[in-house]
């Protein structure tokens, strides 16, 4: 339960230092994270007409790689992700299961016409990573606004929450980890 692999998907996500992400995750969660050096090709998950990647298919791809043996697989990609019906998703995870993925595509300030900031991007990535990992450890969305498990549908929502879990969510994590 306590080992997490961080797996770059496609080209190495630009502007983001995976070592920092690893350190951030380990600071907040009692897990050991490691960065898998070989990026995974996810081209089969590309929907040509939408020019986005189907995130559920990405999760399936992650689970299909037998050499990835850690208990939690966290994919990170710079491509935009979607599920049918929705215009996009920041990320997706299996609740109480191994695989999770998130995209940096809409986490960049530049995407919103604001000055580039590596600091803000790193912070958003960490929150997304913690949020999706939280799902894999059985957490649902939290109604408490100051909790990383609060659902985010807009990037400003992500900025509002801290990179940490509220007490009830933390209790749950302590009970499974």
């Amino acid at each position: 339960m306590r080992d997490v692999s961080i797996i770059p998907l496609g080209a190495h996500p630009r502007d983001i230092r995976l070592e920092d992400l690893k350190a951030g995750i380990e600071r907040v969660l009692p897990v050991t994270a490691s960065v898998v050096m070989h990026p995974l090709d996810i081209d089969v998950a590309l929907d040509g007409s939408r020019k986005q990647y189907h995130s559920t298919s990405v999760l399936t791809l992650l689970l299909g790689r037998s050499e990835l043996s850690s208990s939690r697989l966290l994919g990170i990609t710079s491509f935009d992700l979607f599920v049918p019906v929705l215009t996009f998703v920041f990320g997706q995870a299996q609740v109480n299961n191994r695989a999770a993925v998130f995209s940096t595509f809409r986490l960049h300030n530049e995407f919103y016409g604001l000055p580039r900031s590596g600091e803000i991007l790193a912070e958003r990535c960490l929150k997304e990573a913690l949020h999706e990992l939280g799902h894999t450890y059985g957490l649902r969305h939290c109604l408490d606004y100051p909790c990383v498990m609060n659902s985010s549908t807009y990037v400003e929502d992500i900025d509002l929450k801290p990179p940490d879990f509220c007490l009830p969510c933390r209790d749950h994590l302590n009970s499974v980890l």
Binding site: T56, V83, Y112, G113, H141, R170
Partner: protein, 452 residues
């Protein structure tokens, strides 16, 4: 009033495409709703007979009976269930027909996650009102989500009484209190006990955002509003739609922003920067400040008309030194909370350490107390917490405070914090519980200098 439990709400997805059903089901399950799916009209009607469904997300184009026909059929025997139409091609025609036939709303595929989430929250709020009316409106006898507000002192009981009074009204609230007294917790308690609680509480720290960025931050902007604005960006006014906008440190708001804010409060609508369309401003406003606003008005630093508009219902949060009776309870709470977060056993607090806590003057208020105990827990290695574990010493801050002003205490406190962090601004600001801009301002204000 009971706490909101999303699993009390059952949502049915009716769509012939399996991938659509699965992704929506998973998406709403993450929010904790109870989910049911149906792949055609017949199955949907079957599910409606089996149990209560509160919300239906209905696809119009389905083989066999289409969505609009199904809606008509459902309306023959069920007028309560909320139907949201999702269509691949929105024609004005079908949308109007759907709404006329009693649909709650409609949206087009693919739908923006934010829009979908907002639609469903609106529906949930409707259901709640309906249920409340059915069960006769009970009065607000117990506050929810106030576990973090610790205090049995008469002063704090008074505060909670005020929260209880004002929460269910839609009145603007002004929270006054020194930094660190927990003004945001009070704002949150008001929000979570109001009818707006299914919508977000959006905090804005006016002191932390430079005046030049504040306009875009509050109003948002349209795609192409200025160079580099490639996408529409939502401002805080819009994010708070349906919910509560919490303007912390409102006293630091610049004069131009004050005018902007006043206009929005008066017109109840606004434009995004570079936008033509008027957006409705539907939020409750809660403001907080540690400044004496009347004094600010006198010196023309704060507009009088804005002051009258926000000063409707005031809650004064007492400083910690005026409610020392709450210190033991607060201490216990913070020790337990941080021990839990650090995954450590909860240590005892020695009585001489408690004496230190009880006699310290706490210029940084509850936040300072929390930081002191968090630090003590880091230092402490399993035994009971002793005076040495505490960053405050008996008598040191209390001695002579009678002749010192609050500003002097603050200056001293900030200087000490900076020194203990080797003048690392980020970490010092964190410990002080203020943002970096505020800290820089204070350093300048007090003329603090880093030793050479």
């Amino acid at each position: 009033m009971s706490a909101f439990d999303p699993s009390d709400i059952t949502i049915m997805i009716v769509d012939d495409e399996a991938s659509v059903r699965q992704s929506l089901e998973a998406w709403f399950e993450d929010d904790g709703y109870t989910m049911v799916t149906a792949q055609n009209a017949a199955e949907a009607l079957q599910r409606l007979q089996e149990g209560t469904i509160d919300i239906i997300l209905l696809d119009i184009k389905m083989p066999g009976m289409d969505g609009l026909a199904l809606q008509d059929r459902i309306r023959e025997f069920n007028s309560d269930v909320i139907i949201i139409i999702i269509t691949a091609f929105a024609t004005v025609d079908t949308a109007v027909r759907a709404l006329k036939a009693g649909a709650f709303d409609y949206t087009t595929k693919p739908v923006d996650p934010d829009e979908l989430s907002h639609l469903v929250r609106k529906a949930v709020e409707n259901i709640r009102l309906l249920r409340e009316n059915k069960a006769m409106r009970e009065s607000l006898d117990q506050l929810q989500y106030v576990d973090d507000i610790i205090g049995q002192s008469p002063q704090m009981q008074k505060v909670l009484e005020l929260v209880k009074t004002v929460a269910p009204t839609d009145s603007t609230v002004l929270i006054l209190g020194e930094s660190g007294t927990g003004k945001e917790l009070i704002a949150r308690a008001i929000h979570m006990n109001s009818r707006r609680r299914y919508f977000p509480l959006i905090p804005v720290n006016c002191g932390a955002i430079p005046e030049t960025l504040l306009e875009s931050e509050l109003f948002g902007h349209e795609k192409g509003a200025f160079t580099g604005a490639q996408y529409r960006r939502k401002g805080k006014f819009e994010m708070a739609q349906g919910g509560t906008l919490f303007l912390d440190e409102i006293g630091t708001l610049g004069l131009k922003s004050q005018v902007d804010l006043l206009r929005v409060l008066q017109d109840k609508e606004f434009h995004r920067i570079g936008g033509e369309r008027l957006v409705k401003a539907d939020f409750r406003l809660i403001c907080a400040t540690n400044l004496d606003l009347e004094e600010e008005v006198k010196h023309a630093r704060f507009r009088e008309d804005l002051y009258y508009r926000i000063n409707v219902f005031t809650i004064l949060l007492p400083p910690l030194r005026d409610r020392r009776a709450d210190i033991p309870l607060l201490a216990r709470h913070f020790i337990e909370q941080h021990a839990k977060a650090m995954n450590k056993p909860v240590p005892e607090l020695r009585s001489d350490a408690m004496d230190v806590l009880l006699t310290h003057n706490w210029p940084g208020n509850v936040r300072e107390l929390e930081n002191a105990l968090e630090r003590a827990l880091v230092i402490n290695q399993g035994s009971a917490i002793a005076p040495d574990d505490l960053p405050v010493q008996v008598g040191r801050a209390t001695a002579g405070t009678r002749n010192t002003t609050l500003a002097e205490i603050e200056k001293e406190f900030i200087l000490r914090t900076l020194e203990s962090h080797g003048w690392n601004i980020t970490r010092s600001a964190e410990q002080l519980g203020i943002d970096r801009v505020t800290l820089y301002n204070k350093i300048e204000k007090y003329g603090l200098k880093r030793p050479e």
